[in-house]
């Protein structure tokens, strides 16, 4: 009986909103073709894919591709590099826009504040190719970075060939590019804080520091947590474009991360099934990370994405 009711409701809904469903049809087609078909295509992770046999016709190999990755020579290195790069990026990159927003929020001169915002947002719009191109140029033996190192008494060296410096360069340039843009959201949250709260706090004798801890921080904590969840969710997927542009065989030992490895074995070596298997592993870890972070934040702070 219940089933009938559902199909009846569906029929009525379709009749009433027919033109609306027609409108969304191209959008649905887009999602099916460019998102869900590749998801189906990801079953080649469990197969030995050859183009002539197609996705359906290629023979199943079970978990072979996954075992090959887990027992392969690069597994530990890739996990370690991915984690470390992300942890550094999180530890240094996440607080940076918050601090910038707090500093900007204290500026009384509207002109100066506006100028500072325009300038710090700017790097966000410079293309990755140009940013990494500049880094490559500056890091050369006769480049700007080396000129500065020499000025402080150091020695010239090709910086991008040095695996020990790779993460520093990567993280620092990411902060340079995104700190201003990232601060917008916090500035918006800060502008929503009621001025009276500050006045009341200062009448109660709270200095700048006390006001920061007791008024400002509680006001922007929900924003901080939301941003943190979003960041955690993309932990494993970030950065392959920049990595591909910045790394080279000399720095693979610290620079090569899971997503750049997926690119290398997939696109360059054309080892398609193997690459897809690693991609799938990466995607699943990503989803788990997102769900776990969201659960934790729900438990501790009542802020969550869903």
């Amino acid at each position: 009986m219940k089933k009938n009711k559902i199909s009846e409701r569906t029929r009525v809904d379709f009749r009433r909103n027919k033109s609306l469903y027609l409108l969304v049809l191209p959008v649905l087609a887009f999602y099916i073709i460019f998102h869900y078909k590749p998801m189906y295509g990801a079953i080649i992770a469990f197969k030995d894919y050859t183009p002539s046999l197609g996705v359906g016709g290629s023979p199943w190999v079970g978990l072979d591709n996954f075992t090959r990755f887990f027992t392969g020579p690069y597994f530990v290195r890739l996990i370690k590099n991915t984690l470390l790069l992300n942890v550094y990026n999180l530890v240094f990159g996440f607080p940076a826009p918050i601090i910038l927003a707090l500093l900007l929020n204290e500026i009384r001169s509207k002109k100066f504040k506006g100028f500072a915002q325009t300038v710090t947002y700017l790097p966000h719009f410079i293309s990755l190719i140009v940013v990494t191109g500049m880094i490559t140029n500056f890091a050369m033996t006769n480049g700007l970075f080396n000129d500065i190192i020499v000025f402080f008494g150091g020695e010239r060296s090709p910086l991008l060939q040095n695996p020990n410096l790779y993460r520093t360069i990567y993280v620092a340039s990411s902060i340079w590019q995104e700190v201003g843009w990232g601060s917008i959201i916090y500035l918006a949250a800060l502008s929503g804080v009621d001025c009276q709260l500050y006045e009341a706090a200062s009448i109660d004798g709270a200095g700048k520091w006390k006001q920061l801890i007791n008024v400002t921080m509680p006001a922007i904590t929900p924003t901080i947590i939301t941003m943190l969840i979003l960041k955690m969710g993309s932990l494993m997927s970030m950065g392959y474009e920049k990595t591909i542009l910045l790394y080279n065989p000399a720095t693979y030992e610290t620079a090569d991360i899971i997503s750049s490895y997926i690119y290398r074995v997939g696109m360059l070596d054309q080892d398609w099934s193997y690459s897809t298997a690693i991609g799938l592993f990466n995607s699943v870890i990503n989803c788990i990370l997102l769900i776990v972070t969201n659960m934790l934040s729900k438990k501790f702070s009542e802020t969550s994405l869903w």
């Binding site: 409701r9 999602y31 295509g41 080649i44 300038v119 490559t136 140029n137 000129d147 991609g279």
Partner: protein, 293 residues
């Protein structure tokens, strides 16, 4: 009410200005360096070490070489084609999707939205996506850089939120007047959403302008390369040979260096020029994206 500042607050204020000034200089300097280096004389530039504040000599030779390079002009042309056609299609598709998701009392709205949101967190991965493009003959084809990237789910959700804030009574009134959904979208909803549409145009536009990864993976014909892929060849793979032809071997490195800086400028100046005027739209978009329902 003017509160008199204490001594501590004054010191803090001075430090604050100081720190921000340093941050501003750090953000601006690399761009300034490139700009100044690009119009310097290449011989003087290679001899120079350390920071650079004003041009060393003055020469537009590097720019001349850049504009004589047919590949750069080609790349510019391709990028502009992708930009115009792409942004147009992106806006149409995103509006259709956002309009559907903004309607009330539609039975399948929620499941369809879930299906779209799911793609933000899970994907088939690089290779299955590539194989899909290959199956559809979208490789080696400029359409392959447009059609598969028509909708960004993130932008779709921003637009949906904005459409939702339009009073339902306006849509109902149009419906009573006998307007269909397509007409309501075109004549009621879109005209009321001009500023958020401007944000969408900018987001998609900047995205397309800066995109390079898929172009470098699926395009094999050099004459179809967009600007960023050409840039990559020049900046990363040191492919300045074509432009330094006729320059003596001794000067090749220094001229190559100037050419790189000039190329960066040529590719970045369009964005640097429009950006300050459009900043408020960019900022607006960033804030809408952060507000959840």
């Amino acid at each position: 009410m003017k509160v008199k500042k204490s001594k501590g607050e004054k010191v803090f204020s001075i430090f604050n200005y100081l720190i921000l000034t340093i941050i501003i200089m750090l953000c601006l300097y690399p761009v300034w360096y490139v700009a100044v280096a690009s119009i310097s004389e290449s011989g003087l530039l290679t001899q120079h070490t350390g920071l650079l504040f004003k041009p060393l000599g003055f020469s537009l030779g590097a720019y001349e070489k850049v504009f004589q390079n047919p590949m750069i002009l080609r790349g510019y042309g391709n990028t502009i084609f992708i930009l115009v056609v792409g942004v147009f299609l992106d806006i149409i598709m995103t509006s259709l999707g956002a309009y559907f998701l903004s309607r009330r009392n539609v039975l399948f709205m929620k499941p369809i939205m879930m299906m779209m949101l799911f793609t933000m967190f899970f994907s088939g991965g690089m290779i299955p996506f590539y194989l899909t493009l290959k199956d559809l003959n979208l490789t080696n084809n400029l359409l392959g850089l447009i059609i598969p990237f028509m909708i960004s789910t993130y932008n779709l959700m921003i637009l949906r939120t904005s459409f939702r804030s339009i009073p339902e009574s306006l849509v109902e009134a149009a419906q009573i007047d006998g307007a269909g959904h397509f007409r309501i979208l075109m004549q009621v909803v879109l005209p009321l959403s001009k500023s958020i549409l401007a944000v969408m145009v900018l987001y998609y536009g900047v995205g397309i302008w800066n995109a390079w990864f898929w172009a470098s993976t699926i395009i094999r014909k050099r004459e179809l390369y967009p600007l960023q892929v050409i840039l990559r060849e020049i900046l990363m793979q040191n492919d300045v040979g074509a432009m330094t032809a006729g320059v003596s071997v001794a000067d090749q490195e220094s001229v190559g260096q100037s050419i790189k800086y000039a190329t960066i400028m040529v590719a970045t100046v369009p964005i640097l020029c429009v950006y300050p005027f459009l900043q408020k739209y960019f900022t607006k978009g960033a804030m809408i994206g952060a507000v959840k329902e």
